[in-house]
């Protein structure tokens, strides 16, 4: 497939990389030669210098034949215009990154954003990252939570602490009935696809899959109790912090107190004016230990670090964990810091660029792929597939699918049922399957579930 990516910034670069790695022909357009050189060096893409809104440049990029246009520059207006121009010249699926929620909500129906303007999807990195963080908050103590099949099934990951009941036991000894251990990532980063004999060790990150629900079984194993969120602190009042505060306070029961910490006084005023009264805006340096004590921020149920600066996020997160905050979630610009964050005790990390790129890729991945979630810096992924009629897998029991090593079937969702697969479970057309796999086996797994 031919794809044009406008904007070679962090997001454009990431999208172009992922598209190229998935085997697509990518033309990357940017006005800055420097950014393009960088991309040409590292990625297998064609680069083209020039304004992404220019019809002649887009034509040169092959927009007439392209099936996808991703407009990912820093400017909302450039992205919108690039999409409008592209739609006049060809019929690509148009995806625009639009920061300003006023544009993104221009269409009253919400999700399609500017569909009325010919822009097929509007992507707001802050919104996606905020939603991701909120999903994690919904199951506190879990570091990653993903919902699948219309929120009927979910995947959570937990860091196994030494005192957890599951630590030092084999999976078959755990007596799991409603839950599947889909994968384990060892502290050294090794991805393990478990069988019954696999030993769970302290420091492992264990990925569980189950029907959406209270997750009692998982909680018993990792030794954490659920308690409702009453007090959340957000550090950093940038676009992400604002979006988080908004999402946390709209349409939720009023018991939740949100405090938002921001260094800049002017920005604080803007935040306080835009947010409902349930959010208390505090003007202070998040890294000031006196301030942390004064507001007793460490006693909050959860702290979200979104200062826009990785170093500050990690620093404040460490300070909070030392003072006993149960849950810390951080935003990171560089995914290289994720292992460091885990070592520092910060349970969960969100990289907005990666979240956004994953979202965009999901939009253009194969037709039977419902979703694709990257775990642990892309060393493992969760693929949500629909089994098409006539596929090789349809009508076969799990044990005789001929799956390559490096993939585990986590759950099967059949109509309203969430099934835990056994060797004899027969896969039927129309089932949704959740696969935990290593990325390199994906090209061999997907065709099994696709019809001719």
């Amino acid at each position: 497939m031919q794809a044009v990516v406008v904007g070679a910034g962090k997001l454009g670069f990431e999208v172009a990389r992922r598209l190229a790695e998935a085997g697509h022909e990518v033309v990357l357009v940017d006005q800055e030669a420097g950014a393009l050189e960088e991309a040409a060096e590292h990625l297998d893409v064609m680069t083209l210098a020039g304004p992404g809104t220019s019809p002649s440049v887009l034509r040169k990029a092959g927009i007439e034949r392209a099936r996808l246009l991703v407009a990912a520059t820093e400017s909302d207006e450039v992205n919108i215009v690039a999409c409008l121009v592209a739609k006049r010249l060809g019929q690509p699926l148009c995806v625009a990154r639009v920061r300003d929620p006023e544009y993104a909500t221009l269409d009253p129906s919400g999700s399609p954003g500017l569909a009325g303007w010919g822009i097929d999807r509007v992507v707001r990195p802050e919104e996606l990252a905020a939603q991701e963080i909120i999903r994690m908050l919904r199951t506190p103590a879990a570091s990653e939570v993903e919902f699948f099949a219309g929120e009927r099934a979910l995947m959570v990951s937990f860091l196994i602490e030494p005192q957890a009941p599951a630590a030092g036991r084999r999976i078959e000894e755990l007596g799991l009935e409603q839950t599947v251990v889909a994968g384990i990532i060892r502290p050294d980063g090794e991805v393990v696809l478990p069988d019954g004999a696999t030993l769970i060790q302290p420091g492992d990150r264990v990925y569980f899959m189950a029907a959406a629900g209270p997750l009692d079984e998982v909680r018993r194993l990792v030794g954490r109790d659920e308690h409702p969120l009453r007090d959340v602190v957000i550090f950093g009042g940038g676009p992400l912090g604002l979006e988080l505060a908004r999402l946390l306070t709209t349409g939720r029961k009023p018991g939740l107190a949100v405090r938002l910490v921001e260094r800049d006084r002017q920005r604080c005023r803007v935040l306080a004016e835009r947010l409902p009264d349930a959010v208390m805006v505090l003007n202070a340096n998040p890294a000031d230990p006196d301030f942390l004590e004064e507001e007793a921020l460490a006693r909050a149920d959860a702290c979200i670090l979104a200062t826009g600066d990785d170093h500050r996020n990690l620093l404040v997160g460490t300070m909070l964990r030392e003072r006993g905050t149960p849950t810390c979630i951080t935003e990171l610009a560089r995914e290289e810091y994720i292992p460091l964050a885990h070592r520092l005790g910060i349970q969960a990390c969100v990289v907005p660029r990666v979240v956004t790129a994953s979202f965009i890729l999901q939009l253009v991945e194969r037709r039977n792929v419902r979703s694709l979630t990257l775990l642990a810096e892309g060393q493992a992924e969760i693929l949500e597939l629909v089994v098409e009629a006539g596929a090789r897998a349809a009508g076969r029991p799990v044990a005789r699918l001929g799956l390559p090593p490096g993939v585990v079937i986590g759950l099967i969702i059949r109509e309203d049922q969430v099934l835990i697969p056994r060797g004899a479970t027969v896969i039927q057309p129309g089932d949704e399957v959740l696969l935990f796999l290593k990325p390199e086996v994906e090209p061999r797994v997907q065709p099994l579930f696709r019809g001719s």
Binding site: R265, C268, R269, L271, A272, E273, D277, M280, V281, L282, N283, A284, F291, E294, E295
Partner: protein, 486 residues
């Protein structure tokens, strides 16, 4: 300071006042009462004077629109109100109803500032021209004579906003229409419409056309002069009370809300407004307190609630109509009335005093102070509904309350030192500064301000104008630096 421009505008105002005098003149002529020549003569004289001043002022700038700077605008409004009161006093002085020009000036000022305090005792004994003029003055002053001038007089383009700001009541002025003239006209058409409707209903209820008009003027201007000594109590009709009650509430509401409800298709949803809610709430609470106090004083509950509700609305809208002789009320109830004089109606209405919105702002500021004790780093803008106010606006509102209370205290001190009973001094200062007019004690509904010393009448007249212009405009004129060449 462009003196000629100011004179030109003052001339316009005098001309306008002269024209207005022809209405009571016509009424006097129809009734065949002896005050006709006073109004005709004063009207013609004011017309001529105004015309002359306009000519003289205009010759400085060749008829075109000239920039009106804040300084000129403030001077025009401040002087305008004094001059208009003086001019309005002339026919009253000539009519023979008033023993001196001082009394006539007090009465005219009380009329224009929508105070409704009177020096007359047996009101029914005075000719209809005089009584009609008192009502008409209320009505002209209610929405602001300057706004009216902008609305109907030859165009005044630049600087009109300055005039409006200097005259309008309340804090944040919302611009109702892109063109100032359209905005002024809009406000006046709502005003005229409300007045006509009120007069029509009162007339239909059986009041004479004269009484209906005078009381409609007094109600919509939230002013409170009646053509009867006993005020609304003279009619002894609960339906009349109800009509006046409803129209007092409407007149004390921000006219921007009426605009949204009537002309912007919002209907009743327009009244879902924090200020309006606080305005109704304060009237409700005061009515309950008054009812309870009156009932405890021995009045039957139905009568207590009828009087309590009417008086609560009358005082919070700064009208000053009465349905009972409040001087006979228990001490506690009269104390409540005094407190109520400081509340005021909504911004952008015809009411005076401090205004509910400023109290709402003050309450939020105090709440913020408490929160800041617990959370020193909190950033908490003062919010009214969806809108948050700038810190300047907040400071302005709290400073105004402080200034208002200081002026009140100072004025009460002057009155007390001049020999009034201290309690009467407090009540009189509150009633005149707040343009309410309802005296308590010896100046109550059945009494009058007539017995005061002439100097005090001048002092109170000034106080009424200061209150009507929300203090700053008039006080600026009294500072020497204002008049110094900039």
């Amino acid at each position: 300071m462009n003196i000629r421009l100011i004179v030109h505008m003052l001339g316009t105002l005098i001309l306008f006042m002269g024209a207005a005098m022809l209405l009571p003149a016509a009424w006097a002529l129809a009734a065949g009462t002896p005050d006709f020549p006073a109004f005709l003569g004063a009207g013609l004289g004011a017309g001529l004077t105004g015309w002359g001043l306009r000519r003289w002022g205009r010759s400085s700038h060749s008829g075109g629109a000239e920039a009106l700077h804040p300084r000129e605008a403030l001077a025009t409004v401040g002087l305008g109100w004094v001059v208009a009161s003086l001019v309005a006093a002339v026919p009253l002085a000539w009519s023979g109803s008033f023993p001196s020009f001082t009394d006539a000036f007090f009465e005219a000022t009380s009329g224009l500032t929508t105070t409704g305090a009177t020096v007359l005792t047996a009101i029914e004994a005075h000719p209809p021209g005089v009584l009609f003029w008192r009502g008409l003055l209320h009505w002209l002053g209610g929405m602001g004579i300057i706004v009216l001038a902008i609305a109907i007089l030859p165009r005044l383009e630049v600087g009109g906003l300055q005039l409006l700001r200097a005259e309008a009541s309340g804090t944040a002025n919302e611009r109702l229409r892109p063109r100032l003239r359209d905005a002024a006209r809009l406000v006046w058409s709502i005003y005229v419409g409300l007045t006509a409707l009120a007069a029509l209903l009162l007339w239909a209820r059986g009041l004479s056309l004269f009484d209906a008009l005078v009381h409609a003027f007094g109600t919509i201007a939230t002013a409170g002069s009646s053509s009867h000594t006993a005020s609304i109590a003279a009619f002894q009709d609960p339906v009349v009370e109800l009509i006046i009650l409803v129209f007092m509430v409407l007149a004390g509401t921000n006219f921007a809300l009426h605009d949204r409800a009537l002309f912007r298709g919002q209907g009743l949803a327009a009244y879902r407004d924090p200020e309006f809610r606080a305005y109704l709430g304060s009237m409700g609470v005061l009515a309950l307190l008054l009812t309870a106090t009156l009932a405890r004083g021995g009045l039957p509950l139905a009568e207590a609630s009828r009087q309590g509700l009417f008086q609560a609305v009358s005082l919070i809208t700064t009208t000053g109509y009465t349905t009972a002789d409040t001087t006979q009320w228990p001490e506690a109830a009269r104390f409540l009335l005094l407190m109520a004089m400081f509340i005021g109606g909504s911004a952008g209405s015809t009411s005076s005093s401090i205004k509910v919105i400023r109290w709402v702002i003050l309450a939020r500021v105090l709440r913020r102070e408490v929160i800041q004790l617990l959370h020193p780093k909190v950033v908490l803008p003062i919010r009214l509904g969806e809108r948050s106010l700038s810190e300047e606006a907040v400071r302005g509102a709290t400073a105004f309350i402080l200034l208002y209370l200081l002026v009140f205290a100072g004025a009460a001190a002057v009155l007390a030192l001049a020999g009034l009973h201290p309690l009467t001094a407090l009540q009189t200062a509150a009633a005149t500064l707040g343009n309410i007019g309802l005296g308590l004690g010896p100046l109550g509904p059945s009494g009058s301000y007539g017995g005061l010393a002439p100097a005090l009448k001048w002092f109170l007249s000034l106080l009424m104008i200061a209150g009507r212009l929300e203090l700053y405009t008039l006080f600026l004129l009294l500072t020497p630096s204002f008049w110094r060449r900039a």
